[in-house]
């Protein structure tokens, strides 16, 4: 890393002073020629998207057009999106949990854990509601805003909320040892995340087994009405996304909030490392 230190920084500021105003000007100049904001006659509003508005309900059975595009027309993108978040979970596991080294001590000014009667009671009431709402968001995804991703994040956040108050599941000795075991372990979260991806890709491959293209749910033998079949399959892949996202959110929070642990310990918290 041979960059000259202080000269390098000054250089960078000078370059930045020239480059970023230029970037801004360029962007604005280009934007001036784009179709007017809100123009219903713009190419974006007239070329491809009308089919998603006019035919989505008949073709996919989803009243929420965003869900129809997300899970069906562009379901392959969503498989990719699920793989992206899975990659983040995998990365944090490799970087933090499965690496050697010691946990970082809590930073100065950050106390831990912070349980109290009020927080405790509030969490007891709030968390079940959040978890239930997460499932509602998942199931209602194709007629109202929401779906697997949002539901998964909410579900993961509910579990995080418990851990924030009662301490992470793996760091024993918090002030409520009886409830720390609640929620999946790090290894459990990983298994959930993997199962989600496998479920999603599995539905896609099943469609191929019945003679369709990858992710062409219409060929699945789930009924006679193609829109209804697609609706069912959409629910299936939303559930798969839900699993991956909930699992990965757990992995991200656990690895980042615990920091580094001795090799193999957090992942094997339910059993010791076996070599």
């Amino acid at each position: 890393m041979g960059a000259p230190r202080h000269g390098g920084t000054r250089m960078r500021w000078l370059l930045g002073a020239a480059a970023f105003p230029a970037l801004f000007l360029g962007l604005v100049l280009g934007m001036a020629e784009l179709p007017e904001f809100g123009d219903p006659g713009s190419p974006a509003s007239t070329h491809v998207s009308p089919r998603f508005i006019e035919d989505a309900a008949a073709e996919t059975g989803a009243a929420n057009m965003v869900t129809a595009v997300l899970a069906d027309y562009r379901g392959y993108d969503t498989l990719g999106e699920t793989a992206v978040i899975f990659a983040a979970g995998l990365g944090c596991l490799v970087i933090l949990a499965a690496a050697g080294g010691r946990p970082n001590p809590p930073a100065p000014g950050m106390s831990h854990p912070f349980g109290s009667v009020i927080l405790d009671t509030a969490t007891r009431i709030l968390v079940p509601v959040v978890l239930l709402f997460a499932v509602y968001v998942l199931i209602h995804g194709h007629i109202s805003p929401g779906g697997g991703f949002q539901g998964g994040v909410l579900f993961g956040s509910g579990l995080i909320m418990m851990r924030l108050v009662w301490g992470p599941a793996h760091e024993g000795g918090t002030h409520r040892p009886d409830v720390t075991a609640f929620g999946p372990s790090l290894r459990g979260s990983l298994i959930l995340a993997c199962a989600g991806i496998l479920g999603y890709a599995g539905i896609g491959l099943a469609a191929m087994a019945f003679g369709g293209e990858f992710l062409n749910y219409g060929t699945l033998p789930l009924g006679s009405d193609p829109a209804h079949v697609r609706e069912l399959a959409t629910l299936g892949i939303e559930a798969a996304v839900f699993l991956t996202v909930a699992g990965t959110v757990g992995v991200l929070f656990d690895t980042i909030s615990i920091g580094m642990r001795e090799s193999g310990v957090p992942l094997g918290s339910d059993r010791g490392p076996r070599e």
């Binding site: 809100g38 869900t67 930073a107 831990h112 994040v153 929070f253 980042i256």
Partner: protein, 82 residues
């Protein structure tokens, strides 16, 4: 809603201000809180434009999850920017 709609412009301006503040303050927890505010403002603006799904997701992710992750990182690294 026309282009110059006051609520829209106001929200956008508030977004820029909160983002700039989040990048400028010294304390990481303050920055994370400001970033959360930025995300919620963005989510509100998305909802105003009829992008309810995006608004919902941005609120879940930007407002809650990203902020929590930033705070967790602060917990294991350093509360102040150094």
């Amino acid at each position: 809603m026309a282009e110059g709609h006051l609520i829209s412009i106001g929200l956008l301006a508030a977004m820029v201000v909160s983002a700039a503040c989040a990048l400028a303050v010294k304390d990481l927890l303050t920055a994370a809180a400001l970033f959360g505010a930025f995300s919620f403002l963005t989510a509100t603006w998305f909802a105003l434009l009829g992008a309810v799904d995006v608004a919902f997701t941005e609120a879940c992710v930007g407002g809650a999850l990203t902020t929590i992750l930033f705070v967790s990182t602060a917990f294991r690294t350093s509360r102040r920017f150094d």
